[in-house]
């Protein structure tokens, strides 16, 4: 594939990867059992090492899940923001994250302790499947309601916000009728958490990214054109509805697999593309750089989530939300001043 590569984007991505390596190393070292870097390396390659389990079964899959989920969410956000021509758009408006929350909370409440309880392997596998299904159903609902002789970015945003509000309230209703133990568990999931994520979470999201990232990059140049008005895009030979539909599908799948693995981690998909865009200095959220920024953001936030109130652990989504909220306000203030966002 021959892409148009910008030197500055390449440099920003390279720095991002170095930072990511650094954060990964810290995530491997810090925890209940502090390890030095040589300890970590030894534990990684020697199955007999006492720390092998800690590194290979606890810390590494957790950190990798975070990196992959961050990349998927950020790339999904970059696609949606390009198509909606709106820096405040995110996969949330596609109904993916809120849809997933409804099905997962419903699943936890219905199969919860009151009714005999489902736990262990069933939960480990069942929750991601429920989340994936809910995410896709949510997206179909939004897409169907937003479609009117074609798809308009603005209408998509409005419909998406409405549907998200409905799903969110259904979710809260389910939590009020559920058993308190189940709703506590549900609460952690819907904040977005990497706690206890193992290889069974890394593998599906990793495979999905392996497939979806190249497909998305193949469509990168179409995103460039979809940022213009419809007339300009058609004049340049774009089949509007088909192109938009495919890119949205890709964004939905990216967000859905990410949410299935780690829950709806807030404020990754929204700020990452915007940060990447400013770092690279391009007119459109850059796909690859956004993904790198998303990974760094989640890896960094999880480090904070694990260590800030140790031994108490925060869901990573709380940290990203606390970091992301001021950024959102900053974006809104910039927009109100009518300056470039």
């Amino acid at each position: 594939m021959k892409l148009r590569v910008r030197p500055r984007a390449l440099m920003v991505s390279a720095i991002g990867f170095v930072l990511l390596g650094f954060l990964m190393a810290l995530n491997m070292r810090i925890g209940d059992i502090p390890l030095s870097l040589p300890d970590v390396l030894r534990a990684t390659f020697d199955p007999a090492d006492p720390a092998h389990f800690v590194v290979m079964e606890l810390r590494l899959p957790r950190a990798l899940t975070g990196v992959l989920v961050g990349a998927a969410l950020a790339m999904s956000g970059a696609i949606i923001q390009s198509i909606a021509r709106n820096p405040l758009a995110s996969p949330e408006i596609l109904g993916v994250t809120t849809g997933a929350s409804v099905t997962v909370v419903a699943g936890m409440v219905v199969t919860g302790s009151t009714y005999g309880g489902a736990s262990g392997l069933l939960m480990a596998l069942g929750i991601p499947v429920l989340a994936l299904a809910g995410g896709l159903i949510g997206a179909i609902v939004v897409y169907a309601l937003a479609w009117r002789r074609g798809l308009d970015g603005y209408r998509l945003v409005l419909v998406g916000i409405g549907v998200a509000a409905v799903f969110t309230n259904v979710k809260y209703w389910l939590m009020t009728v559920g058993d308190v133990n189940d709703t506590t568990r549900a609460m952690v999931w819907i904040s977005g958490s990497l706690n206890g994520r193992g290889w069974e979470h890394v593998v599906p999201v990793g495979l999905a990214l392996l497939l979806l990232i190249p497909l998305t990059l193949a469509g990168a140049r179409i995103l460039d054109v979809l940022r213009f008005t419809d007339d300009t895009a058609v004049a340049l030979g774009v089949r509007l509805n088909r192109s938009r539909g495919l890119m949205i599908l890709s964004a939905v799948l990216l967000a859905a697999v990410a949410t299935a693995s780690a829950g709806p981690i807030a404020f990754v998909a929204l700020p990452s593309p915007q940060i990447a865009m400013r770092l690279v200095g391009s007119g459109r959220p850059p796909l690859v750089t956004s993904a790198v920024v998303g990974s760094v953001l989640v890896a960094g936030a999880d480090l904070v989530a694990r260590t800030a109130f140790s031994p108490l652990e925060l869901p990573v989504g709380i940290v990203t939300a606390v970091l992301g909220a001021p950024y959102l306000i900053y974006l809104l203030v910039r927009m109100r001043r009518g300056s470039r966002v």
Binding site: M1, K2, L3, R4, R227, D231, A235, G237, R239, S282
Partner: protein
């Protein structure tokens, strides 16, 4: 005929703007559509550029129905510059012009040396090479319009449709843009169709004028045949004297009004 509208009916929703209109664009000419506000001239141009699908009749590109041709193939022959186009914020001139290469690219070859040289050439032709890395929103109106034309040039089409390319420009910049359009025609024999408001500039820069009113073509032909006092009364309800332009010899419209 390069481009032809045959008995087209055009409108938005239930509102019909143009009904039963025929128009042919001859190869290698500059055609300018004039007419009062709301007469359907932009609507017609959008239909010729397949941005609007006729609800009746058909638009033919080189004799073939334009809506049956793959849109990407059309984009390699026909460039359209919509009215008051808007670009994503922060976009640079080079980025904008590079988008013109879209119809020539594929998913596996998103940027080639052909693209590079076409963009360089388009920037040079519009005199924007020095501004290539500047964000579009920092340019003057005239420069911005030139950047958009540059994008249409990078598309490498020999047929160009321009919808009011001089809107919001002061007179000097209007002349600058129209000189460029004329140059595109004389240097490479491009076929150009545009919509203009200024009758005097239309007369000077077009080979052929098409005057429209209420969705119908009232007159078409060489500027001196079309731009007459009778026609101005009929199409624009305007009392005017038409004299010869002292510079170009083309018709010059001088409105009569009451204050003189």
């Amino acid at each position: 005929m390069r481009l032809q509208a045959v008995d087209v009916r055009l409108g938005y929703g239930d509102r019909v703007v143009v009904d039963g209109l025929d128009l042919g664009i001859e190869p290698g000419t500059v055609t300018t559509i004039i007419g009062p506000n709301g007469c359907g001239k932009s609507t017609l141009l959008r239909a010729l550029g397949r941005l609007l699908k006729p609800s009746g009749g058909e638009v033919l590109l080189d004799g073939k129905r334009i809506d049956k041709l793959p849109t990407r193939e059309v984009a390699r022959v026909l460039g359209v510059l919509p009215q008051a186009p808007s670009a994503p914020e922060g976009l640079t001139v080079a980025d904008l012009v590079a988008r013109g290469r879209h119809p020539h690219q594929t998913w596996y070859r998103q940027w080639s040396s052909d693209d590079e040289s076409a963009v360089g050439h388009a920037l040079a032709m519009t005199g924007l090479a020095d501004l290539a890395e500047r964000p579009l929103d920092e340019l003057s109106g005239g420069q911005r319009q030139r950047a958009w034309i540059s994008m249409a040039l990078a598309q490498g089409t020999d047929l160009l449709l321009l919808d009011e390319p001089t809107t919001f420009l002061d007179l000097a910049h209007q002349v600058e843009v129209l000189e460029l359009v004329r140059h595109l025609h004389t240097s490479a024999g491009r076929t150009i169709v545009m919509v203009l408001h200024d009758l005097n500039l239309a007369a000077r820069y077009a080979d052929r004028l098409v005057a429209m009113r209420d969705g119908r073509v009232v007159a078409s032909g060489a500027p001196h045949e079309v731009l007459t006092e009778e026609l101005l009364a009929k199409v624009f309800d305007l009392d005017a004297v038409v004299i010869a332009d002292p510079v170009a010899g083309t018709p010059l419209v001088v409105p009569i009004g009451t204050r003189h």
